[in-house]
């Protein structure tokens, strides 16, 4: 039996209750909305770029503990990174939460706490919603991204 504590790690619960960078970003030059129609999670991710680097990033919206904590910790992890670095980080994160990469070799930093999601396949979409939304924002897509 998968352990609930593996999913709901302290750090995840803490971020879900007090999300970081949870605000409007008036200086944003990239923005996208992400939506999970199955559970109604909805987030807007706003990014301010400087050259090729993410200078500032913020998010707003509503969702479950996993999706909110993931959005919060994502904003911390990608700030200061280049587009390409953020993309690669998402790829490693995605492989980890889907059980396709050993978290020890994924170089995820704090994001390693999401490794437990791989035991809960129905929650992968929650963990990756903000990341998909960030990708859409960086690629300048106008349409809301959906996990479906």
């Amino acid at each position: 039996m998968a352990d609930l504590r593996e999913l709901y790690q302290e750090l995840i619960l803490e971020h879900s209750k007090a999300p970081r960078n949870y605000r409007a970003l008036t200086a944003a030059d990239h923005k996208a909305e992400g939506y999970n129609p199955l559970c109604g999670d909805r987030f807007t991710v706003s990014v301010q770029m400087e050259g090729d680097s993410i200078q500032d990033i913020a998010f707003q919206g509503s969702g479950c503990a996993i999706s909110k904590a993931s959005a919060s910790m994502m904003t911390q992890s990608v700030k200061g990174k280049t587009k390409q670095q953020a993309k690669e980080l998402f790829e490693r994160f995605h492989r980890t939460v889907t059980g396709n990469q050993n978290p020890d070799s994924a170089d995820l930093g704090k994001l390693t706490v999401f490794a437990g999601v791989s035991e809960f396949p129905t929650r992968v979409k929650c963990a990756t919603l903000a990341w998909h939304t960030l990708q859409a924002a960086l690629e300048g897509k106008q349409e809301a991204v959906s996990t479906e």
């Binding site: 039996m1 609930l4 209750k17 559970c39 109604g40 503990a65 129905t122």
Partner: protein, 426 residues
């Protein structure tokens, strides 16, 4: 206090000599093999009956037996098996007719489910009767399957979809409903029982108001048929739709009941075999009712399984089932109401065994995951009723919905599960 609406049941549908107090839930549980499954190592507590119900052994056996002994195509072969299969299929139709107390067997059309039944009416009755500037009236508590087919129709015909509002308890505002009936209203489409809230709609009043203006009424009965006695002649509605799989029968089969005069006047739905009486390249003559609406080889085994399910429910007695679920609802409502931080969504006076709730600061999806780890199956999300979620200002709810085999101890397991949720997210 919540109480299930009692409607007069037709003769012959009351279980013999079994008062509600004699309802033997343990014996019923033994009829459902899946209840022995362990979920994450825990005893399964299946409280997702509004999504789909589990199947009794008699249904599973009827389907197997059909394929082992009777399988053939229907209405065409002259051979032995084809006669058997045809007889079984038509016998299933008669069972449905009697279960709904429809006047005639040809008023029962087999479809894939309630969704297809509603789409059938939208695409045939709707497309032939609704034109520019007309209106279709629904309610704010409809499932997407009783919203989107009408939106598609209204878009195509430049007609308007009107929506009757509900109050904060999740009850239809009848005066608002009546106000929205106009000379342009071509059809009323309304749930008998709300899937997300459990509200039982006041169909007698709805039908009376609509019929006074000569407007036909379609009822989405997907949540009502498994939970309470349904008598379409007594209701007086013009169309009634339900799904086999929510009624302890198989997936892939459902029913559209329609008054024969309406069905006769409607154009066909799909074209193909079985729905014709003669075909030339110049002209096709359509078959009589109900075959006009049953193009192609139907889900014969599904109909056989549905018959077994309705026979099973008939033996239990719909009054007894409704009384049993009403007891569970009352017990669950009282227990959940006393938990701090839990808010019930949908507190209609007339309600079936559905408990929808939200918890302060905890998302329904997280609640669902914690309950799942305890072996408790509930639905979390918008329940295909997003406009209704908007009405209550929530993105989603947790929904526990009861069935014939649920027990008070399972309600207690749910309550313990909710306490566990609070511990995890404390």
């Amino acid at each position: 206090m919540t109480k299930v609406l009692r409607m007069p049941s037709s003769p012959g549908k009351v279980a013999l000599g079994e008062p509600p107090s004699g309802y033997d839930v343990e014996r019923i549980r033994a009829d459902f093999p899946i209840l022995d499954v362990k979920a994450h190592g825990q005893t399964l507590v299946y409280l997702d009956n509004a999504a789909t119900s589990q199947k009794p052994r008699t249904v599973i056996d009827a389907i197997s037996r059909y394929y082992e002994c009777d399988n053939a195509n229907i209405h065409r072969g002259v051979h032995y098996l084809s006669e058997l299969a045809t007889a079984e299929f038509e016998s299933a139709r008669k069972t449905v007719q009697s279960f709904l107390n429809a006047a005639r067997p040809e008023e029962i059309v087999f479809v894939r489910g309630a969704t297809e039944a509603i789409n059938l009416v939208a695409q045939t009755y709707g497309r032939s009767q609704v034109s520019t500037g007309d209106e279709v009236l629904i309610t704010a508590m409809e499932h997407h399957s009783n919203i989107v087919p009408w939106q598609l129709l209204c878009d195509e015909k430049h007609a308007r979809l009107e929506v009757a509002p509900v109050n904060e308890k999740g009850e239809l505002l009848l005066s608002e409903f009546e106000r929205l009936l106009s000379s342009r209203t071509k059809l009323v489409a309304i749930a008998h029982v709300s899937n997300a809230l459990g509200t039982i709609n006041p169909l007698a009043a709805v039908v009376e108001m609509a019929h006074r203006r000569k407007i036909p009424v379609l009822v989405d009965g997907a949540q009502a048929v498994p939970r309470m006695p349904v008598d379409v002649q007594n209701l007086g509605c013009d169309f009634y739709a339900f799904s086999g799989h929510k009624t302890y029968g198989p997936t892939g089969i459902g029913v559209l009941y329609g008054k024969s005069a309406l069905l006769e006047a409607m154009p066909p739905y799909q074209g193909g075999g079985d729905m014709i009486s003669s075909v030339t390249f110049e002209k096709t003559t359509y078959n009589r009712l109900p075959y006009k609406f049953e193009a192609g080889t139907p889900d014969i085994a599904g109909a056989v399984g549905l018959k077994a399910a309705l026979d099973y429910l008939g033996d239990l007695g719909m009054e007894n089932i409704s009384s049993h679920e009403s007891d569970l609802l009352e017990y669950a409502t009282e227990a959940i109401s006393t938990i701090p931080g839990v808010r019930l969504i949908g507190t209609a006076k007339e309600k079936t065994g559905v408990v929808s709730f939200v918890m302060e600061g905890i998302h329904p999806h997280d609640i669902g995951t914690v309950l799942d780890q305890e072996g408790i199956a509930v639905r979390t999300g918008h329940h295909c009723a997003q406009p209704l979620m908007d009405r209550f200002g929530v993105d989603a709810t947790v929904r526990a919905s009861f069935g014939v085999y649920n027990t008070k101890s399972e309600v207690e397991a749910l309550i313990r599960g909710i306490q566990r949720v609070k511990e995890v997210f404390a």
